[in-house]
């Protein structure tokens, strides 16, 4: 990286715990003074990444380059992967604060300075200054256990920033606070960041918090970075259906890109601003609920629908509308529309976000057993007759999303798995199912499942097409 504004540069980081790979080839850089948020659902690897930057975990592969002050007063870039946490120029605010219960507020904050051998009167000045910054003056003699959650949080932040770290790491620091407190602390954190000019790396699963606080959001899922961008970019232009679903409310629909600037979904053709997808390519279309214009008259509308429900949400009304194509979409508007009434709907071209589909069918690694059987997902399946592939050879099985049946009981299926992720696509659900073998299969279904449901997986033989396994895995 030639940009000397960069303070941390992470290159191809991977980490596994046992068989479970929690981080897969993570690369990102962080600029000086930036407020970066690692955002994702639990288990996405965001905390692991933070702990690696802090030094509590060592990466299996990859580098963590960090700006380092060498003795000559010059700064250089150094791979810190092997450097223990106490030597790194950064500090962490822990999820449950981890204030030392045997020390009072003052001694907790002075802990780092005392270790560095800072003179006593300077410690005094700095501790008082930082207590004032977090609005906790007069609390210095208090026992940390007697403080409320919010106060402990402030002390934990003070304990970190008093050491003037180059980078402050925050691991879901507001997770334990109630909503009102959390919102107040968000504003204070933002102000603190501006005042101190320290780089903040913030971990959270709360998308609203990420949108409020960050300069840059790194959206993570399943150990991979999904998207890096400003809050506005990520909200308006999600790169895939996961990001679209995770950030804010959204309608995610199946569509077809007919040609440049023309996309078909909900049974109608719409003008859009996207180009370069090719012609007649299946795509995912994301429309934010507040971007659909709803009116009582149907003339002049692009398409029509019937209001199914209307709920008051404080500032706006949230409505579910059945479109003339039979899909259900969510709409937010300042006006209420009566349930059962027919409404006209309009979507503006630049409010349509078109995304390339990550996949159009299931492609599963398998091994040919005999002419009509293959082994995949850790089980043996019957399939369409295979020709030209020798038994024992690796191959690929292709199964359409809608041709996988999910069963209530695991034993009813040939293989079994757990519902991992659910996406509503307007007229059906697109489920991600993690099989017992640890692979993912994707299922389109009308049935309602819950995340975490254990299901049997059944596939009819005629729906499994086997092709030769290419060497290329992607």
């Amino acid at each position: 990286m030639s940009d000397n504004n960069i303070i941390i540069d992470i290159e191809h980081l991977s980490k596994s715990f046992g068989d479970h790979q929690v981080l897969k080839d993570i690369s990102l850089y962080i600029r000086k003074g930036e407020f970066v948020t690692l955002l994702g659902p639990s288990g996405c690897g965001k905390t692991t990444l933070l702990r690696m930057i802090a030094g509590f975990l060592q990466p299996d592969e990859g580098k963590i380059m960090m700006e380092w002050d060498s003795k000559g007063g010059k700064s250089e870039f150094l791979d810190v992967a092997k450097i223990p946490p106490h030597e790194r120029p950064l500090n962490t605010v822990f999820q449950r604060y981890a204030l030392f219960p045997h020390l009072d507020v003052y001694d907790n904050i002075a802990f780092g300075l005392k270790l560095k051998g800072v003179p006593k009167d300077e410690i005094d000045v700095r501790v008082r200054k930082v207590l004032k910054l977090v609005s906790m003056s007069d609390y210095e003699d208090r026992d940390v256990n007697s403080l409320s959650g919010g106060q402990q949080q402030r002390v934990a932040i003070a304990r970190s920033i008093v050491n003037r770290p180059k980078v402050l790491l925050l691991d879901e620091p507001l997770a334990a606070l109630d909503l009102k407190m959390r919102q107040d602390m968000q504003i204070e954190l933002k102000e603190m960041h501006q005042k101190l000019g320290i780089t903040f790396i913030y971990v959270t699963h709360d998308q609203a918090e990420a949108l409020t606080l960050s300069d840059t959001i790194v959206v993570m899922n399943e150990g991979r970075i999904q998207q890096i961008g400003t809050p506005i970019d990520i909200y308006n232009e999600p790169v895939n259906s996961f990001v679209a679903d995770f950030i804010g409310e959204s309608n995610i629909l199946n569509g077809t890109m007919i040609e440049d600037r023309k996309v078909r979904f909900l049974g109608h053709d719409f003008d859009c601003v996207d180009e370069g997808f090719g012609e007649n390519v299946p795509v995912d279309v994301v429309i934010r609920p507040e971007d659909i214009y709803i009116m009582n008259k149907t003339e002049g509308a692009q398409f029509t629908g019937t209001v199914k429900s209307c709920t008051f949400k404080g500032v706006h009304y949230e409505m579910y509308v059945n479109t003339d194509s039979g899909n259900e979409i969510q709409i937010q508007d300042y006006n209420a529309f009566e349930t059962g009434s027919t409404v006209g709907l309009i979507i503006r071209p630049d409010d349509i976000q078109v995304m390339r589909k990550e996949r159009v069918e299931n492609t599963v690694d398998c091994t040919v057993v005999d002419e009509t059987h293959i082994e995949m997902l850790g089980e043996e399946f019957e399939c369409k007759p295979v020709s030209g592939i020798a038994p024992g050879a690796p191959a690929k099985a292709h199964i359409s999303f809608s041709k996988i049946d999910l069963m209530d009981h695991e034993e009813e299926g040939t293989a079994s798995g757990e519902v991992w992720f659910i996406l509503y696509k307007g007229d059906h659900y697109h489920l991600t199912v993690k099989t017992e073998s640890g692979e993912f299969v994707y299922v389109d279904t009308q049935d309602i499942w819950d995340k975490g449901d254990l299901v049997g997986i059944r596939i009819l033989p005629e729906d499994i097409t086997v092709t030769e396994g290419d060497e290329q895995t992607k």
């Binding site: 802090a54 030094g55 509590f56 223990p84 946490p85 106490h86 030597e87 500090n91 962490t92 822990f94 999820q95 449950r96 981890a98 204030l99 030392f100 219960p101 045997h102 802990f111 780092g112 270790l115 560095k116 304990r159 970190s160 050491n163």
Partner: protein, 257 residues
């Protein structure tokens, strides 16, 4: 009054018969003369009885030595057992606690026999060995419990703030494990002062501990003097508990087996 308070009655009876009454009897006997009248003589006798005073001093000395050795051996053992990187199996913990399941008298007799076979002469060394062997688990377990429950984020926070591994231990882990240490000290020091069987078997009565002279007096029907000595020992134990028991709740928690 309410039905529920009636459930306490059996326990109350138990407490009265086995705890309160014996205590009262000890106090009564301690202040009773040969003639049956009230006297301070039994108690004052102790302070003029050179033999008893000497034994008392030896008892305290042995108890302190035993407690220190147990602490020095027990803390590292507990630390290793509680550390998930160093000890991955629950079986090792059981192995350390296992001796507690066998009667102390049996173990002591066996140890004494072992020393006889090996030709060691019985004395202070063998006494301390036996005491440490008997009481070490009582030191390890409460410390192990406290260390096991300790949130690892404290140590991480200290390292994060610039503490080397040695400083992390000295400034965070050790102070936070104090409840376990004081509980362990209580559980080793107090029984050592009053023990008599171990010193009898492992020194052939060459070294007498305070418990021994109480037992000797009671055995030779000098109940009043024996009771007075018991009372003095009770006071000492009470004082030790008070001194160490500033953090009572934690001490109890740490001592739960």
């Amino acid at each position: 009054m309410s039905k529920r308070s009636n459930w306490a009655v059996p326990y109350l009876i138990f407490l009265v018969i086995f705890v309160a009454l014996p205590l009262i009897l000890i106090v009564v006997y301690a202040f009773q003369g040969q003639d049956g009248g009230f006297t301070f003589k039994n108690v004052t006798n102790f302070f003029t009885d050179g033999d008893a005073l000497n034994t008392f001093a030896v008892s305290i000395e042995v108890a302190i030595e035993n407690t220190l050795i147990c602490l020095l051996l027990g803390y590292p053992a507990a630390y290793i057992l509680a550390n998930k990187d160093l000890n991955k199996s629950a079986v090792t913990v059981i192995l350390f606690i296992l001796p507690m399941w066998i009667n102390a008298l049996m173990r002591t007799l066996a140890t004494a026999e072992l020393f006889n076979v090996l030709g060691f002469s019985l004395g202070k060394g063998t006494l301390l060995f036996g005491l440490v062997y008997d009481y070490l688990p009582f030191m390890i377990y409460p410390i192990y419990n406290v260390l096991l429950k300790m949130d690892t984020s404290y140590a991480e926070a200290a390292a994060d703030l610039g503490a080397t591994p040695v400083q992390v231990f000295g400034k965070v882990t050790l102070p936070l494990s104090m409840p376990g240490i004081s509980s362990g000290i209580l559980m080793v020091f107090m029984p050592t002062v009053s023990t008599f069987a171990i010193s009898e078997f492992l020194t052939n009565n060459k070294i007498k501990l305070f418990g021994t002279i109480i037992q000797e007096n009671i055995n030779s029907s000098m109940w009043n003097y024996g009771a007075a000595l018991s009372l003095i020992m009770l006071l000492i134990i009470g004082l030790t508990t008070l001194l160490l028991g500033g953090d009572k709740e934690n001490a109890v928690e740490g001592g739960t087996v």
